[in-house]
């Protein structure tokens, strides 16, 4: 019934290769967050702009990003755009797909954070003679960052885990890609994937813990 013999040695021998893959994973996740945050800020601005076209564009983005599978979003970036003659490498397609997804979720976070800050805060700033921009920059924005910080780090964890979807578009240098190839050569599926899972877990947990430590240092009120 259960006569599988574990061969951990093979998996452990491949550990350096897998750790190299983990670095690629981390790199894609970080880049996708960087792009995601910038896009999300723009989308938040668009949605508050009162301009119907910009608002419509941003809302469509957010709706698609949040209500369709991330896998489809990555597929679209690779195969979908390919149909129109835009050929993105697996790496770029994965990055674009995840960044698109990040931006949608983050834009919603940012909007929620902004709404959580009462108008009276701006009013208090204006009544002291600040311009609207100053009131936003020095009073609203710092409070908004605090509210949005932990949800943003959650998205970072999601981004790390989403990179594993890259195998579906032929990505073979990230942790999931490397593991998949090792598996294909050895059929030691359980060992390789268990080890990969442990590495994903450690990275994700480290991000969460680091974010918490950072938050308690940055936000002391």
């Amino acid at each position: 019934m259960f006569n599988y013999t574990f061969h951990w040695n093979q998996a452990l021998k491949a550990l350096p290769q897998m750790l190299d893959g983990a670095l690629v994973t981390l790199q894609i996740a970080l880049l996708s967050m960087l792009i995601g945050v910038i896009c999300a800020l723009a989308l938040t601005g668009f949605r508050l702009s009162g301009n119907r076209v910009l608002n419509g564009f941003a809302t469509t983005w957010v709706e698609i990003a949040r209500n369709t599978p991330a896998l489809f979003q990555i597929y679209m970036a690779h195969f979908g755009l390919g149909n129109f003659g835009i050929h993105l490498s697996p790496y770029t397609a994965l990055l674009v797909g995840i960044a698109f997804n990040n931006a949608g979720y983050l834009a919603e976070n940012f909007r929620g954070a902004l709404k959580a800050i009462p108008d009276t805060q701006t009013r208090a700033g204006r009544s002291l003679g600040m311009t609207a921009v100053q009131a936003f920059r020095y009073i609203v924005l710092p409070q908004m960052l605090r509210i949005a910080f932990l949800p943003t780090t959650n998205q970072m964890v999601w981004a790390i885990l989403m990179t594993s979807l890259g195998v579906t578009v032929g990505m073979n240098t990230d942790l999931a890609g490397v593991t998949q190839e090792l598996n294909a050569r050895s059929f030691r599926t359980f060992e390789f994937f268990a080890l990969a899972a442990v590495i994903y877990y450690i990275i994700a947990k480290a991000v969460t813990l680091a974010a918490r430590a950072l938050a308690s240092r940055m936000f002391r009120y």
Binding site: T120, Q121, R123, A124, G125, S127, L128, M130, R220
Partner: protein
């Protein structure tokens, strides 16, 4: 001098100010009393330029508040306002709350702003709370901080909009004491308040607002001692 001439203001179909005339001299303390919705708070936010007016004129030292050419940010550093809700900036310490506007609006150095902030906070009795975050303080302390924050801009006029209304009863006294102190130092003040005893003590004149009209204005002895307006008589009977 603050000159208010025939000011009218509506929110939608509701006219909240129906032609207000009031002149407040330098050094004068005017308190405004009246029921909720009588327009008293709206008038204050109009003087500060936070609310537009529909017609009439408000002038502060000859500058027309609602004229397009007026630099409202400059005007606001001259006319301080403190609200019922003190609106402490939660992400800044007490001293940083007070330093922010002097630094960003007046362009003072950190050191100069801190000096002013410490002085004003000590003045309102918060000299021990400089590095504390607002959420660690009582409502009364936060409200005094808000007063120090407005004073740090060296305003020539101060507007107080029901600054004790949101406070627990036992905290009202400390804030009123701060206002009394300012009045005794010669600050020009317009205070919207529900504290009749306070109004009687500190005011040079008391104005009674009713349904958007300034129904009566007189020195406190006259207004409280021999009210003429029938609505004021009813109001005083109900509040005593």
């Amino acid at each position: 001098m603050i000159e208010i001439e025939n000011v009218r203001k509506s929110f939608g179909t509701l006219e909240v100010l129906k032609g207000i005339d009031l002149t407040v001299q330098k050094g004068e303390v005017v308190t405004v009393i009246g029921g909720s919705g009588s327009g008293k708070s709206t008038l204050l936010t109009c003087i500060n330029g936070l609310e537009p007016i529909d017609s009439g004129r408000i002038k502060v030292d000859g500058t027309e508040v609602h004229a397009k050419s007026t630099d409202l940010n400059k005007l606001r550093s001259k006319v301080g306002i403190v609200f019922q809700q003190w609106n402490a900036f939660p992400h800044l310490t007490v001293v940083e709350n007070v330093m922010l506007a002097p630094r960003k609006v007046l362009g003072l150095s950190k050191q100069a702003a801190e000096e002013i902030a410490v002085k004003q906070l000590t003045h309102v009795g918060l000299g021990e709370k400089l590095g504390v975050y607002p959420n660690r303080m009582s409502g009364g302390q936060q409200q005094r901080m808000a007063i120090a924050r407005a004073l740090a801009m060296s305003p020539e006029y101060m507007l107080f909009d029901e600054v004790t209304s949101a406070l627990d009863p036992q905290l009202v006294g400390e804030v009123l004491d701060t206002l009394r102190m300012l009045a005794s130092e010669g600050m020009t003040m317009i205070c919207v308040t529900h504290e009749m005893k306070f109004a009687r003590e500190v005011s040079d004149r008391v104005a009674f607002f009713h349904k958007g009209v300034m129904a009566e204005i007189a020195p406190p002895e006259a207004l409280f001692g021999a009210p003429k307006d029938p609505e004021l008589q009813k109001f005083l009977a109900a509040t005593h």
